[in-house]
């Protein structure tokens, strides 16, 4: 039996969970108590959960977030979303083949009144921004209800195993994301005026100023005086041939499977998108013991932080800039991917196609704010605020900070004038924290090759400075003292390696000439010790860009438990000492392209634009060319957007297609957003009780 569980992780604890038995299509399988059915299936190497009723195409995990229905399976005769339903002992799970049957037995539902509550503030979303806002409201004793659709607070912080950027004072820079989530949740717990509902999904903000919420499967109605939309974002998808295959999904789903559920959904992963999300997912994959075959980015440079891209490249993952995905190839699931180089107009350059053997394609091509709740509240006339990605797509450090500002603004309006206006410097800092990466510069001027000092391989302006606050001799400063500017070393180093350990980009090494000036000792941080490196092992050293510097033996490997980081030391000739940034762990043959590229010469109009209703790009393109540009009309004719995800995936794709066809965005009539936010069984509404 296949075991796709992550048994050892360098950062995340692997809990000892009770083993239970369940069946899939009659076959007995092992699961861990409490995990979602989808993760139990993936842990057993099952990636196809059923077949679509329209074209018989294989269906599997896609959003891992309850938003679509691609992971549907049949349990007790009922079609359920396997990513949102925990597996139970003896559960009989069947694949969903075509349309499900409606069970005959209705039973007699209980009748209870729907619970209705009031609250001064409703916060939708318990991620970084919602938590930060709730803490501010809690400090002032303002009655607040915070809801989150997951079983733990933290939002996407929970899924982040890397150390965070930003500043220590404002956003816990240098601490790992999942730990920040715990810190904020713990702080919130000390404020009794904030009630937290987990497993609670907002269904809609209705016109009568009531919010429908499904809490632990029970429908409740909350009337808030104010709403903070901190619901985050959703991932964009892409049009390409084969985009309907099973085992293509976004980084959110990937991180949920790997970092929350500790299952390994892939052995060989290819990533599309070089923003921070794609780059970090690549790093998470390596920590989960997954081979990262490559990463393609359409722009000439990755949009994410250079330190993230460098980190991946150094570990041995090729990054193909100015490349785009041409096709995912396979029968039911991904068997290979084909990428192509593109010109400055994003057009394919023939002859540059390359195919790679892989079993999964991860799409990380940007996020869209989840703005529905804001719009619904405005339509209903409820004062509403937004924070975090629901307001504007940015890093979690920014989300925490603007969540705090939103919390204070709401507090002021809830009868706490002492809060005062938000200081201007805060607003300025909020701007900085959400900054896109800035200029790339050269290494700082040559330092004399003596003593010990840090080499800072961080050459791009980003909002991050924990190295400057951690140095005991106060010898690291950013160029002009600002958060964005590059850090520079100037002063006296005692070789404590605190900067090495705290740097979220793993972009600081120590060079120590004191023992042997001709063969100085290099200290490098290492976090992927699921791939262990021991004293005496030959390390393939690389420079900042991943270029070879030769093979040298590790002279010491020290585990710094409180930082979950190892310090690996090598001795190298003086000539390359300051260049050494890290060492490669993934062998070059992992990333070898196939001898011949696999692709179809025809343009990719057979790609799906609506995965739920199986509408092709070609179908929508021909409608657009016949003059139909209203998204509601396109939906009426093709059904694109009528599926279970509620146009969450196809809307952006159709808008992109309209742009490609020369229709100005402002002329496009958007989809009308209607209840419900996620599908809910009819049985949940009348009695306000579980229908199980």
């Amino acid at each position: 039996m296949e075991n796709k569980r992550i048994e050892r992780h360098p950062i995340l604890p692997v809990p000892d969970r009770e083993d239970i038995l369940f069946t899939f299509n009659g076959k007995p399988l092992h699961a861990k108590k409490g995990e979602m059915i989808s993760s139990a299936l993936i842990a057993n190497g099952i990636n196809v959960f059923g077949h679509h009723h329209k074209d018989g195409s294989a269906q599997g995990i896609f959003c891992a977030n309850g938003q679509c229905a691609k992971c549907t399976v049949i349990v007790d005769g009922i079609a359920i979303k396997s990513c949102m339903t925990a597996v139970t002992p003896g559960m009989e799970v069947f694949s969903a083949e075509g349309l499900p049957e409606l069970p005959e037995d209705g039973g007699k539902p209980e009748r209870q009144a729907i619970e209705e509550l009031e609250t001064d503030v409703l916060i939708i979303g318990g991620g970084p921004s919602g938590l930060a806002a709730a803490v501010e409201l809690g400090k002032r004793g303002i009655q607040t209800l915070l809801i989150d659709d997951k079983h733990a607070l933290g939002g996407k912080l929970v899924l982040q195993t890397h150390k965070f950027f930003g500043s220590e004072e404002d956003s816990h820079a240098g601490v790992r994301g999942h730990d920040i989530g715990k810190l904020l949740a713990a702080e919130l717990a000390s404020h009794p005026s904030v009630e937290v509902w987990l497993n609670s999904t907002a269904i809609y903000v209705f016109s009568d100023q009531k919010v429908g919420i499904l809490k632990d499967g029970v429908y409740k109605i909350v009337t808030p005086k104010r709403i903070l939309n901190a619901a985050g974002a959703r991932e964009k998808f892409l049009r390409f041939s084969g985009n309907h295959l099973a085992r293509i999904y976004g980084a959110g789903a990937f991180q949920t499977l790997v970092n929350r559920d500790l299952v390994r959904p892939t052995q060989r992963l290819f990533i599309i998108g070089g923003g921070n999300v794609g780059l970090i997912a690549g790093y998470h994959a390596l920590q989960a013991g997954i081979e990262v075959v490559g990463l393609a980015e359409a722009m000439p440079r990755c949009g994410g932080y250079k330190v993230h891209a460098d980190k991946l490249a150094r570990l041995g993952v090729p990054i193909y800039t100015s490349h785009s995905i041409l096709s995912a190839n396979g029968n039911e699931t991904v068997e290979s991917v084909t990428i192509t180089q593109i010109d400055d107009k994003f057009q394919r350059i023939p002859g540059t196609e390359k195919s790679f053997d892989c079993d999964t394609v991860l799409i990380a091509v940007g996020l869209d704010s989840l703005s529905e709740f804001t719009q619904q509240a405005l339509d209903a006339g409820i004062p509403v605020y937004a924070a975090g990605d629901a307001l504007e797509i940015a890093e979690a450090s920014s989300a925490m900070f603007n969540g705090k500002i939103a919390g204070l603004s709401i507090a002021r309006e809830c009868g706490h004038p002492e809060v005062g206006e938000v200081p201007l410097e805060w607003l300025a800092k909020a701007q900085v924290l959400k900054s896109h990466p800035g200029a790339i510069k050269d290494y700082q001027d040559e330092l004399p090759e003596e003593g010990v000092f840090p080499v800072i391989h961080c050459l791009q302006e980003i909002p991050c400075n924990p190295c400057t606050t951690v140095c005991p001799t106060n010898s690291i400063h950013t160029e002009d003292g600002s958060l964005m500017a590059l850090p520079l070393y100037d002063g006296s180093c005692i070789g404590c390696a605190k900067c090495v350990l705290i740097c979220p980009g793993l972009a600081i090494t120590l060079v120590d000439y004191r023992k042997d000036p001709e063969n100085p000792t290099i200290t490098m941080p290492y976090e992927v010790f699921n791939i262990p490196r021991k004293v005496g092992d030959a390390l393939e050293l690389v420079d900042i860009d991943g270029n070879d510097l030769g093979s040298f033996a590790a002279v010491s490997v020290v585990e710094m438990k409180d930082r979950q980081t190892q310090l690996v030391r090598v001795q190298v000739p003086r000539a390359i000492a300051k260049k050494v940034a890290s060492f490669r762990i993934q062998a070059a043959q992992v990333s070898q392209p196939l001898p011949e590229p696999i692709f179809n010469e025809k343009p990719a109009d057979d790609a799906m634009i609506c995965l739920c209703e199986k509408v092709t790009v070609g179908r929508v393109r021909s409608l657009i060319r016949s003059g139909i540009t209203n998204l509601n009309h396109i939906k009426a004719i093709t059904r694109a957007g009528m599926g279970p995800c509620g146009a969450k995936t196809c809307e952006t794709l159709i808008k992109n297609l309209l742009r490609e066809e020369g229709i100005p965005v402002e002329q496009v009539v958007p989809n009308t957003k209607r209840p419900v936010f996620v599908e809910v069984s009819l049985g949940k509404f009348p009695q306000g009780g579980s229908d199980e």
Binding site: K210, P675, L682
Partner: protein
């Protein structure tokens, strides 16, 4: 923009779309003016798609019989998929009074030649498996009624009308009329004016406002209804189920399984929610799902996918207003939530009015849709 048209149709909805096609097929030069940016974007797309001839009066029965003929044969004739399904209609009775009045109405319906019969509870349980049998006295069943996609049919009419030479102008609001004596000479919009031989007011919710511009008082008052759609499942039920009982907060409600597999449902609020408000309220889902599960408990496992609100442009007696006023204005308004099922049949009648080709039956139909009636009667089964 200054053009001359034989007919200017105001509204590209359930009535305006088919009317424009029928007129163009008769060789007339037709313009359709629509305030929205696409066809069928007001209440046409809000219709749940039920189509029945089993009404209580000659007018609606005749028009809808014709609509059913058109829809039933559309795909074989024109090739467009419009989602027609002859799944029938049923009105289950849970009280002696309802049974009596339904059976009484059936006599009238039989006189009009409608295919409708009474089914006993056991047979009804085969048509709607799992239906609540407690106190069930039986049901009407009219197998030739059915359902059809308003979205697809609306678009099919639009494309065919375009092909037949109809001009459509979207995002254009009618702001007034110019007159030549009692006759409208021009339709004036916020973007231009159009000389028209005949004007058809098919403006749905806005019927009264458009009528007022022509000096005609049309008693059409929209009220709000909400509807919803579930995930699709394999076919498990036959006819539309119309539960006529009153319950706190609602009068009748109805649901059916669409050809693609989802269940579509709709409820009539009681008292009515007057006006036009397309926002969804928190009341609908608990109210409607409670009633649906009472009639068919197994529906509780079905997931609601989407809900929406639309309007029934109501007249005081529940019957439409169709006919000429003044010299050359034809009103086809006040469809009371049945515009989609009346549209195709009515369109042919509107073409005959325009061309003065009325047949004896038409006169009889128009008599019950006449604006000058006293509106004191009441539709038996809305």
């Amino acid at each position: 923009m200054n053009k001359v048209y034989d007919v200017v149709v105001i509204g590209a909805g359930s009535i305006g779309l088919p009317a424009s096609l029928e007129l163009a097929l008769k060789g007339l030069k037709v313009l359709v003016l629509e305030a929205e940016s696409s066809p069928g974007q007001m209440n046409n797309k809000k219709a749940i798609g039920g189509v029945r001839a089993t009404h209580s009066d000659f007018g609606k029965i005749s028009v809808c019989q014709r609509s059913i003929e058109i829809m039933k044969h559309w795909q074989e004739e024109f090739g467009d998929e419009i989602g027609w399904l002859s799944n029938g209609y049923s009105y289950p009775a849970y009280t002696q009074e309802d049974e009596a009045s339904l059976k009484n109405l059936m006599q009238t319906q039989h006189e009009f030649g409608l295919n409708i019969r009474w089914v006993e509870p056991d047979e009804y349980n085969e048509l709607v498996p799992g239906v609540n049998m407690k106190d069930l006295r039986g049901s009407t069943y009219s197998p030739e009624d059915g359902s059809c996609s308003p979205l697809l049919l609306g678009s099919a009419y639009f494309f065919r009308a375009q092909k037949a030479g109809v001009d459509f102008r979207f995002n254009e609001h009618v702001t007034g009329f110019e007159f030549d004596g009692p006759r409208i000479s021009k339709v004036v919009t916020d973007k231009g004016s159009y000389a028209a031989g005949t004007v058809i007011n098919a403006s749905g919710n806005n019927a009264r406002e458009i009528g007022a511009l022509a000096g005609v008082d049309l008693p059409v008052f929209p009220d709000n209804h909400e509807a919803g759609i579930t995930e699709p499942v394999k076919r498990f039920m036959g006819p539309m189920v119309v539960d006529m009982r009153k319950r706190p907060g609602s009068s009748n409600f109805y649901f059916y399984q669409h050809i693609e597999g989802p269940v579509i449902f709709c409820i009539t609020p009681d008292p009515p929610i007057l006006g036009v408000d397309n926002r969804s309220s928190s009341v609908f889902l608990p109210l409607c799902s409670k009633r649906m599960l009472e009639v068919l408990p197994r529906l509780r496992h079905l997931k609601v996918r989407r809900t929406w609100r639309g309007q029934y442009p109501m007249t005081p007696d529940g019957f439409p207003i169709v006919g000429k006023t003044g010299g050359n204005l034809i009103n086809a308004v006040g469809m009371c939530g049945q515009g989609f099922m009346l549209g195709p049949g009515l369109a042919e009648l509107l073409a005959r009015i325009c061309l003065d080709e009325l047949q004896p039956n038409d006169e009889r139909i128009l008599a019950s849709f006449d604006l000058s009636r006293d509106f004191s009667g009441m539709e038996a089964f809305k």
